[in-house]
């Protein structure tokens, strides 16, 4: 922090370092699991179809990659929303999009017959739910053509409560085994997706990051307040719309595929802001990378700690995130804010 502002050197240095850490994490996570595999045998092209290769390429690598993409997207969305709502404790699930996506996904899970042999209907329904929720939430939170922060938070809380109630209702009318499955889906999982979906999601989330990066300077100014941002030349309404949409679409897509994974979008941006500062040109990509690293580690723990039985990854993120968060809160209490 000696220089006090962002330089190219710092930008590339920090991002570069995080990229290296991410790569190492990805490799280590792929090597670890409830079943011990022989990595060399798995990677050996001459031995085709060994169980090691199958496990590595069919079960682990997709999972690890998906965890990275989902973690990155959640953290990035959290960063943007925290600036937009001027609240370093805002969580992307707060604005209600996740609740709507989850409700739609659960409806598909509970009532749609599993035809076509593919489970694409659940993510598709959930994403549709996310889009509908975005439309509803924005309409409700619009005050004179502007997306007001307090309205957004209020509407988000109410919307979540509403969809949560509907979710519980559905849980009472399905049978026990379905309810169990629904609970598991809700708690979030990055397991068992195919490469096509993961690749598509990766491109989608990186595009979202790119869109937000274009607005990085605006995010800095917006975090000072709408009036201040306007005084600094930001086209406030347009910027708020675009940023909210980008963040909401990120969250919607991710919840559709992996369920509700909490804490990543809250803790990672907050922690990274304390570590690398609040300049969004650095903070946004850093959050993506850190979120990816965090969720890959959490998922690795989720699938190795209890052997063949998996803990839902959302449980691990909360259990891990809370103490880390509390520690950093105590250490950097002054840096939190002047409110």
């Amino acid at each position: 922090m000696a220089v006090g502002y962002l330089t190219w050197r710092r930008l590339f240095g920090v991002i570069g370092a995080l990229l290296v850490i991410l790569l190492i994490t990805l490799v280590a996570a792929a090597a670890v699991g409830p079943v011990r595999i022989d990595l060399w045998r798995a990677l050996d092209p001459t031995v085709g179809g060994s169980p090691d290769a199958l496990i590595l390429f069919r079960a682990r690598i997709p999972r690890v990659l998906l965890a990275a993409v989902v973690g990155g997207a959640l953290a990035t969305a959290g960063t943007a929303l925290q600036a937009l709502l001027r609240n370093p404790l805002a969580d992307p699930h707060l604005v209600g999009i996740s609740g709507g996506a989850a409700l739609a996904g659960v409806c598909a899970l509970a009532f749609a017959p599993p035809v076509f042999g593919r489970s694409i209907i659940v993510p598709a329904a959930a994403f549709l739910g996310a889009l509908v929720s975005i439309w509803l939430v924005v309409r409700l939170a619009l005050v004179g053509g502007r997306i007001e922060s307090y309205a957004l938070l209020l509407i988000g809380v109410i919307y979540n409560a509403f969809t949560g109630a509907l979710l519980m209702f559905i849980n009472t009318i399905v049978d026990f085994f379905q309810a169990h499955g629904i609970l598991f889906w809700l708690m979030g999982s990055v397991a068992n997706q195919d490469y096509d979906l993961i690749a598509a999601l990766a491109i989608y989330t990186l595009a979202g990051l790119g869109l937000l990066l274009l607005r990085a300077r605006d995010l800095d100014c917006l975090s000072l307040g709408d009036a201040r941002a306007a005084e600094l030349g930001v086209a406030v309404e347009r910027a708020r719309w675009q940023i909210f949409l980008a963040a909401a679409l990120l969250v919607g897509a991710v919840v559709s595929v992996s369920g509700m994974i909490g804490f990543v979008g809250l803790v990672v941006p907050h922690v990274m802001r304390l570590l690398v500062g609040a300049d969004h040109r650095l903070l946004l990509p850093v959050s993506y990378l850190a979120g990816a690293i965090f969720l890959v580690c959490a998922d690795t723990a989720a699938r190795t700690v209890l052997g063949a039985t998996e803990i839902p990854v959302g449980v691990v993120t909360a259990l891990a995130g809370a103490p880390v968060f509390a520690y950093l809160l105590r250490r950097d209490r002054r840096s939190l804010g002047t409110q």
Binding site: S223, L224, E231, L232, A235, A278, D279, T338
Partner: protein
């Protein structure tokens, strides 16, 4: 560069007028002080002048152009605002905060140029916050933060500077320094200044024109000699004062009620 408000009115929906029928102008190189009791609409007027708030009636013109038609970035290159409160939620450093003043001059991509950095450093020097450059603003005192905000406005290299009670949290030394700085900006750089001030003595000392607002209306406007008079002050502020000339300087003495 001339900024004028023409018969502007501002009111909240279903509310009374906060500002009604005010016409005020400031030209290149002018220094205008705006004063009045609390709630007289001073901050609102500044908001209208900067173009951030839209008047319910009337218009605000910058160089003859309605500010509603001017792109916000262009506005921000001409007009900088120092707001009343400087609450900071996020731990930007002082340098980062001041550099945000360069935002209207920058494109979407890329980091600040060496010139941007130089401008920001000069601004920090002039407001005496260079020593805090690397520290998060959230760690500073209210007065230090206010100076940082002034530096940010300076970094915008504006032609017109609007300040809302810029010396409120500052100690005597720094308040004096800021007022001296404003005078310097005005004389040396030709920046027009509009400042909301409570201290009438300082206003009289540094500003060429003073405007009094009361209940959203412009009551009087003119040179300090014309405006700062006991009868006028009683009319606007509802308080008795004594105004004296002291070694060529107009001084306003509040008169506390003496207990018997």
């Amino acid at each position: 560069m001339r900024l004028c408000a023409e018969r502007v009115r501002f009111s909240y929906p279903r509310g009374a007028d906060v500002v009604s029928d005010v016409s005020l102008a400031v030209g290149s190189g002018e220094m205008l002080a705006v004063a009045g009791p609390n709630g007289s609409g001073k901050s609102t007027l500044l908001g209208l002048l900067s173009g951030v708030s839209t008047p319910s009636a009337g218009q605000v013109l910058l160089e003859g152009r309605d500010v509603r038609t001017i792109d916000r970035r262009e506005m921000a290159r001409s007009i900088a605002v120092v707001p009343q409160d400087a609450a900071m939620t996020f731990p930007f450093t002082v340098a980062e905060t001041v550099l945000m003043g360069r935002a209207p001059h920058r494109g979407r991509f890329g980091l600040e140029t060496p010139r941007d950095v130089a401008v920001a450093e000069r601004a920090m020097e002039r407001t005496g916050v260079s020593e805090f450059a690397g520290r998060p603003v959230t760690e500073l005192s209210g007065g230090e933060r206010q100076r940082v905000v002034i530096a940010r406005a300076l970094a915008q290299e504006p032609r017109i500077l609007l300040l809302d009670e810029p010396t409120t949290h500052l100690d005597l030394r720094h308040a004096t320094a800021v007022l001296d700085l404003l005078a310097e900006l005005n004389v040396t750089d030709g920046v027009a200044i509009v400042a909301v001030l409570h201290d009438l003595t300082s206003a009289a000392m540094h500003f060429g024109r003073i405007a009094f607002l009361r209940a959203g209306q412009l009551v009087a406007e003119g040179s300090p000699e014309e405006i700062v008079q006991e009868s006028m002050i009683r009319r606007v502020f509802d308080v008795d004062v004594r105004v004296r000339m002291d070694a060529g300087v107009l001084v306003v003495h509040p008169m506390p009620k003496r207990p018997n």
